[in-house]
């Protein structure tokens, strides 16, 4: 009997949080326009190296140009999620920890991780989502085929998984704020490493490949979803990725709870 009550309560809370960030974003309409323009420019910067590299060769490490574009599409989509929904909220947590205002969040009668994760949203990132869809469209038009319904389903599952892993990793970075306080640089590091996700991970060799598959699982975020959409992901890899991703999410939730217990209010 208790479960549905809890769910509807959190759904209502989520809607409220979303409305609040929409309202505050709409206050700065001029900013909205500039940000949209910047998003388009950012997309150009993302695509340019891919165009140049594949301008030299028809295929690199077994990836053709349109196939690599599918990876870029995933990267753009995930970056929209990261910078539009995940990053702004969690950067605010870091500020809360440093100033001691996290008290106000912890005192509220709802899950703290839920509250801080949904606190802020940057709606203009929708431009990036549209860009990602355009890239997918262009890529599949050049492949002369469209993904089968089964592949679309697999892609959707992997989108969920990718967002989960991305979010979990970010939670780990934020948890570090409870220990080292000054974590701004750490978030820049996160974003700079994430940038490598625009490339299919199998192009890399040796140490970089290991890091991007197991340490900072970029493969899980962009390459595997792309392979799923292309219908090229083997079932055993898919299963391993799913199990690994879920385990990782559970781990990061655990770390968050431990870090939270370290928090000593800095305010009066």
């Amino acid at each position: 009997m208790k479960r549905p009550g809890l769910l509807t309560r959190y759904a209502r809370l989520l809607a409220l949080q979303l409305r609040m960030s929409l309202v505050s974003a709409m206050q700065y309409r001029g900013d909205f326009l500039v940000r949209g323009l910047l998003a388009v420019l950012g997309m150009t910067v993302t695509l340019l190296p891919v165009f140049i590299v594949f301008g030299q060769r028809a295929a690199v490490a077994g990836w053709s140009f349109p196939e690599a574009l599918v990876v870029v599409g995933w990267f753009t989509l995930l970056r929209a999620v990261l910078e539009g929904a995940v990053s702004p909220s969690l950067t605010a947590v870091v500020e809360h920890v440093r100033r001691g205002t996290l008290d106000f969040v912890l005192l509220k009668p709802a899950d703290a991780q839920f509250l801080v994760s949904t606190a802020k949203l940057e709606p203009w990132r929708v431009v990036d989502v549209a860009g990602a869809l355009a890239i997918f469209g262009y890529a599949f038009a050049h492949l002369h085929r469209w993904p089968a319904p089964r592949d679309l389903l697999a892609g959707a599952v992997f989108l969920g998984l990718a967002v989960l892993v991305l979010y979990s990793f970010w939670i780990l970075v934020v948890s570090a704020a409870f220990y080292v306080v000054k974590v701004d640089n750490l978030s820049y590091l996160f974003q700079s490493v994430f940038d490598a996700g625009r490339w299919p991970i199998t192009i890399f060799r040796g140490a970089l490949r290991f890091i991007f598959t197991f340490v900072f699982p970029l493969a899980l975020m962009t390459t595997y979803p792309a392979l799923a959409l292309l219908g090229k992901l083997g079932p055993s890899t898919a299963a391993a990725a799913l199990v690994g991703g879920l385990a990782f999410a559970a781990l990061s939730r655990g770390v968050w709870h431990r870090a939270l217990s370290m928090y000593t209010s800095a305010s009066s």
Binding site: D31, V34, R35, L38, L41, G42, T44, V45, L48, P49, I52, V53, G55, Q56, R57, V60, A61, V180, K182, N185, L186, Y188, L189, S192, V193, D195, A196, W199, I203, F204, R205, L208
Partner: protein, 279 residues
Amino acid sequence: VSLAASSPTAGWLGLRHAVRAFPTLLRVGLAEVVAYRAEFLVWILTTNMPLVMLAIWHAVAADGPVGRFDQKQFTAYYLAVLVVRLLTSTWIIWQLSMEIRDGTLSSKLLRPVHPLVAYAGQHLAAVPMRALVVSPIVVLLAYAAGDRLALRDPKMLGLFLLSLVGAWLLIYFMMVLVGALAFFVDSALGVFDLWIACHAIFSGYLVPLESLPAWIRGPANVLPFRFILGFPVELLVGLLDPATAARQLAVQWGYVLVLAGLALLVWRAGVRRYQAFGG
């Protein structure tokens, strides 16, 4: 706020103060780097894009060179990008726009040393630590570039060092210029994002400029971005002949003068407008 540092009579007196204060400023800056060493290390790791691009080009050039570049030359190029980038970049823009917004700048304006000199000292102080980090990369680079490395010829070495100083000054004054916009608008960081995007394309940071399609290479060769990174890098790995290098050095220093003039103009106008919140 009335300001000693920006009044016209300050002239010579200000300069003498600055010269005398500079060693102290350097010491303070060095102490800061040592105190925040973890942050310093993380910042170095943030500059990982050249290594990723290097890995990509290695895969591409595995079955034959791309233009003038074979695998070894790509290695030399991107290691040189790391060296120049780590030695010349500063983060004054974030500091400046934050201090203007929250009013911390006021205390800097009251000191007898011009704030821009103080910032410069603080950032120059980090250079020895950076050189320490960069030196192993230089060894690898010397191996990859072989006898084309500029360090072997004293004349080219001189040109390279001058271009490095020029690159540092260009970045510094550009950041002051954009950062000082925070005097006029709420957040100058949007403009800076625009700069970062242009820098990635036009400076040679992502891909060597000669591998760009002609319609981007044209503007890239004239815009200031190339002189921040691509020019010293190409000079270092021996992609430029001495005559071209000397000519481009002149262009670079021309840009330094123009940007310095613009930055100081905007700074002066900004300080006149500036009304600090609190103390």
